[in-house]
């Protein structure tokens, strides 16, 4: 599977984890859920391995890590290589339904520029996640 970064190996576990996330793009999983998934298939992958792998995938930009609050464990979700990797694609996460929404419009880029030029702060799209309540949840709530 896939590209091997220089100085790293492709192991079975590594592929399994990435493929699982890729096959379920659009959904997010905790480290525990990933572990459980494999265990239910008779495959055992150490928790530490999962964390280490997710950490690297996040660094590589293939996966996004979401922290909803410090009580619930972090969620990981496949993001992919295309169209988000060029830099200016942000993500909005609905705190209620958990949906992940891609945001790539004029205004976000304008805002990006503003923060960079006026505040001297260069935003990191991979790390920055907008949290809030999405359209549907807003409507169904009232």
């Amino acid at each position: 599977m896939g590209r091997t970064k220089s100085g790293s190996y492709n192991t079975k576990q590594s592929c399994e984890i990435l493929n699982f996330l890729k096959d379920n793009a659009g959904s997010h999983f905790t480290s525990q859920e990933i572990s459980d998934h494999f265990r239910s298939q008779g495959i055992n992958i150490g928790q530490a391995t999962i964390y280490r792998r997710l950490d690297r995938l996040t660094t590589d930009g293939l996966v996004n890590k979401y922290i909803i609050d410090e009580k619930s464990p972090a969620c990981y979700e496949f993001i992919g290589t295309e169209h988000c990797s060029h830099g200016k694609c942000y993500h909005m996460k609905c705190e209620q339904c958990g949906k992940l929404i891609h945001l790539n419009c004029e205004e976000i880029n304008a805002f990006f520029e503003h923060v960079s030029e006026e505040h001297g702060f260069v935003l990191d799209p991979k790390r920055t996640v907008f949290y809030g309540i999405c359209n549907e949840c807003n409507n169904s709530e009232s």
Copy 2:
């Protein structure tokens, strides 16, 4: 100081914590930092008390709780009734030096409106943290 909610008492510790945050409105502190502050003044307040008090203050809406990431402890900041309480005070976190910067400008509010009206997504300032590299780190890096 001040108003006692029905079924609750005004204790010395309770007042100290609130006053400390109030006197430092605009800055945020971790539970540890608050504890250290009082200890350096010879005042001992149990960590649990601080957490319990911050929890209540957050519930009461006097204080905001910010979760930067699950590694660093939560930050608390006096909000009172003004200033940030209307919802549009965001935070930027430098991925390099870890500094937390307040962001409260025209553009962020305009962006807030845009996302709300055009994308139907209501941002949550308490959860949303902008990650990136700050001015100083950018300069000292090149």
